[in-house]
């Protein structure tokens, strides 16, 4: 029965001992190690949260950028189309303008040429008339001055007339 006696004698001692041991251990760990241990979890959680936030922000920025680019692309496509349409329209107008002008100019040239031809023709006729007249006067003088026989006379006249017809 020694065991029972020794046990009952040390009950209080053991009770105090376990309380002291346990509390000492709690205090030691609380003071020297607990902040390090829990701190690292907080730090890690913060870091992960921060990184997730940053990634989300970057994602959003990228999405916004893509949208902006799409809008810009669409806009430039529309602008390009418009420029081409404008150019085509302008070219049509210009073409019509050029053709019209060419028509007008050609017409003017034609008219001018016709007028010039007519004037030249008239001038030539005038000149011819003058020449014919002077020739006739010359001829008449020659005929009068020269002593011609009838045959020579008539031959001369015929020849002259012939030549006149050729003109």
């Amino acid at each position: 029965m020694i065991t029972v006696l020794s046990t009952s004698a040390t009950i209080l001692g053991n009770f105090i001992l376990v309380t002291a041991s346990f509390l000492t251990l709690i205090i030691l760990i609380r003071v020297f190690a607990w902040k390090n241990l829990t701190g690292i979890f907080e730090q890690r959680a913060e870091k992960i949260a921060g990184e997730i936030d940053a990634a989300e922000e970057k994602n959003q920025a990228a999405a916004a950028l893509v949208k902006q680019r799409q809008v810009e692309l669409e806009q430039s496509r529309i602008e390009g189309k418009k420029i081409i349409q404008d150019a085509v329209a302008r070219a049509k107008v210009e073409k019509k303008h050029i053709v019209d002008q060419a028509d007008v100019e050609a017409q003017a040239l034609k008219d001018k040429a016709k007028l010039e031809i007519a004037a030249e023709k008239r001038e030539a006729q005038e000149q011819l008339k003058v020449q014919v007249a002077s020739l006739a006067v010359d001829l008449a003088g020659k005929i009068i001055l020269e002593d011609l026989d009838q045959a020579a006379h008539s031959a001369l006249i015929d020849r002259y007339i012939d030549r006149l017809g050729e003109k």
Binding site: I2, A9, G13, N14, T19, L25, I29, I40
Partner: protein
Amino acid sequence: MEESINPTLNLGPVTFDLTMVLVSAITIFIIFLLVFWASRKMQLKPTGKQNVLEYVYELTIGFTKGNLGDEESKRYNLFFFVAFTFLVVANNLGLMTKIETPEGYNLWTSPTANMAYDLGLAAIATIFVHIEGVRRRGLGAYLKAFVTPLAMTPMNILEEVTNLASLGLRLYGNIYAGEVLVGLLLKLAHASAFAYPIAFMLNVVWTAFSVFISCLQGYVFVMLVSMYLNKKISGGH
């Protein structure tokens, strides 16, 4: 082991069991050194010893989370972390060896293989639970929980006592039984040279099983205390 005589020291009216003092001190020393050493230079990317420490931390969180929920489990984890490591080391300490002086003084045991010691631990846990109950919900709500429903009042009061007793005695029974069998196997080993190898092999098997039981008791203790705590701080539903 309580079969043998332990050296004692009388300080006034209190008798201290010196073997228990020694093994308690060793328990504290081992845990504190390991935790202190492992918690130096903590890094965001854990390596080696920090991994182990974090694993134990997460382990006790895991034990208590089911009862207390995430937030409370973290808040009280210092208590549970210390309780769990204390129990695992203390329970296994006695399995390592056996030191006896020629005069029959036993110098080595698990501190938890002693009924008063285990009831002391259970008392610490119970007092902690009750203090938290009062602190978190106020004295009125704490006392009211005992008399709701009114007819159950005696049972409610009795429950607190049985909780304490079962916490302590379960631990004591398991660890003490482990040590008794180790002691018996040692006696068998001493009985004859032929019995020695058999006793040795049996002891290896039994020690392995006892280690398992010891860790399991640490888990059970932490688990039950977290359950009692939850009942007190959340109003017992």
